[in-house]
């Protein structure tokens, strides 16, 4: 790795000022499990690393059944899944947090960092999207803006963050009654791999738990950005929970997948996987919504 400077600011304003001064020669460092690998391999260059973990707002994790979950951008995966209340309220997020890398990686890597790395295969991103995550971004001049997670990524490794901007936190609304979410991916190994395809789903059922009120579906590793499969999700709204409605949503999700063929999988395999995983994540989300 080339020589770099390292600072550990104590406030969002200081971090933003340092980012703004260095432009694209500065990078935020949360868990570092992507950034350090990219710098070492020369895929990214930086003159300045700014420690996200030293800023209190980026380290916060607060949950209440009414307010929902505010997850600081630098909170490592293990803190999310070790919190029993959060694990019970957001199992779909836990699915993703406990899939990312190894136990060692989960000790450092953050959900916010996974989003900012903006890999099409980022395991937590479909989970964030289907849970209705909204990103709080801070920028120069004390300005903040809020961005729905499905609008955050703009290309492989690229996102809406402008020079001088950083992700402060992601807010997840409180889970609704009779709702459930799931993330699953396909990898050829049991652990420690990058998704060939991944699907996140969330459902809200009515009081009888026999009909969909609404759903959200998001796909990983099948397009340049995580896909928000709106048509597939919308097809479920107001419909009964049945094999036929789930099958139709899976078919529509496959239409939204625009994968490439690469060393990890072919176009045909990935589209097939989207169908299988959409079915499975919907079924699991329904079980969770029913408390089964």
């Amino acid at each position: 790795m080339e020589a770099i400077e390292f600072i550990a600011p104590k406030t969002v304003a200081d971090a933003v000022a340092a980012l703004a001064a260095k432009g694209d020669r500065a990078r935020m460092l949360a868990g570092g499990t992507d950034v350090l690998v990219q710098l070492r391999s020369g895929r990214r260059r930086a003159e300045l690393l700014i420690d996200a973990k030293s800023v209190p707002e980026l380290n916060q994790m607060s949950y209440s059944p009414r307010q929902g979950l505010t997850l600081g951008a630098a909170v490592p995966c293990y803190r999310v899944y070790q919190d029993q209340k959060i694990a019970a309220a957001y199992p779909g997020l836990i699915d993703a947090a406990s899939l990312i890398g190894s136990i060692q990686i989960q000790g450092r890597a953050s959900i916010g960092g996974n989003l900012c790395n903006s890999a099409p295969s980022g395991d937590s991103i479909p989970a964030i999207i289907v849970l209705g995550g909204v990103c709080t971004v801070a920028g120069p001049g004390g300005k903040t803006r809020e961005i729905p997670a499905e609008q955050f990524c703009t290309g492989p490794g690229r996102n809406v963050l402008q020079p001088g901007e950083l992700l402060v936190s992601i807010h997840f609304p409180a889970p609704q009654a009779n709702s459930g979410a799931t993330y699953q991916r396909f990898i050829p190994r049991n652990e420690m791999d990058i998704a060939v395809a991944g699907v996140g789903a969330s459902v809200v059922l009515d009081r009888t738990k026999r009909n969909f009120v609404s759903a959200r579906i998001s796909l990983a590793s099948v397009a340049p950005i995580p896909v928000f499969a709106q048509k597939a999700a919308a097809s479920l709204a107001g419909k009964p929970v049945s094999d036929a409605t789930i099958e139709e949503a899976a078919r529509l999700a496959m239409e939204d997948a625009k994968p490439i063929t690469d060393m990890r999988g072919t176009i045909r395999q990935r589209i097939h996987l989207v169908g299988v995983l959409t079915r499975r994540t919907l079924q699991e989300s329904i079980k969770r919504a029913r408390g089964e």
Partner: protein
């Protein structure tokens, strides 16, 4: 050219001061700056787990932590496990089960396995294998390692 940074940290219970460049990983600092070569370098990109150390109560791959991030932290390395009375039960079990061949992955496996049993004294084989997915061994085929961890589990439970 950024200068050297002074880092104060705790390693194996002792306060340690060292100077490093911000680009240097904790792994480099342990091995090259402090001469603590028990922690091994394998892939240097977070895949193999050979450089696993305890870092504020969690196992991490020390190749993906910067030395400067160790400021004020509590670190345990493989050098911190044995006592004057003898090896840690995990180390002893790895020896008795011949759970190593070339030995490069061994300190990482021992640190990761000990961390698991410290928090889950009754972990079953499936849990152990899942926990150790981030540690790669190209020699043993893993079965001997799993046997060693299960043996250490019995020893550690018996000594409580």
């Amino acid at each position: 050219m950024p200068g050297l940074v002074h880092v104060t940290t705790t390693i194996n219970g002792n306060e340690v001061n060292f100077l490093c460049e911000p680009r240097q990983s904790l792994l480099e600092c342990l091995r090259d700056v402090l001469g603590m070569t028990g922690t091994k370098e394998g892939c240097n990109d977070g895949n193999c787990g050979a450089c696993t150390v305890m870092f504020d109560g969690r196992i991490v791959t020390s190749c993906l932590v910067l030395g400067v991030e160790a400021q004020g932290k509590e670190i345990t390395t493989i050098e911190g496990l044995a006592t004057p009375q003898g090896l840690h039960p995990m180390q002893q079990a790895f020896l008795e089960q011949a759970a190593l061949q070339c030995g490069i992955c061994t300190p990482g496996f021992i640190m990761a396995s000990k961390a698991l049993l410290d928090q889950e004294p009754d972990a079953d084989e499936h849990r152990i294998r899942h926990w150790l997915a981030g540690n790669l061994c190209r020699c043993t085929g893993y079965d001997k390692i799993i046997r060693a961890v299960l043996q250490a589990e019995e020893t550690m439970k018996a000594s409580k």
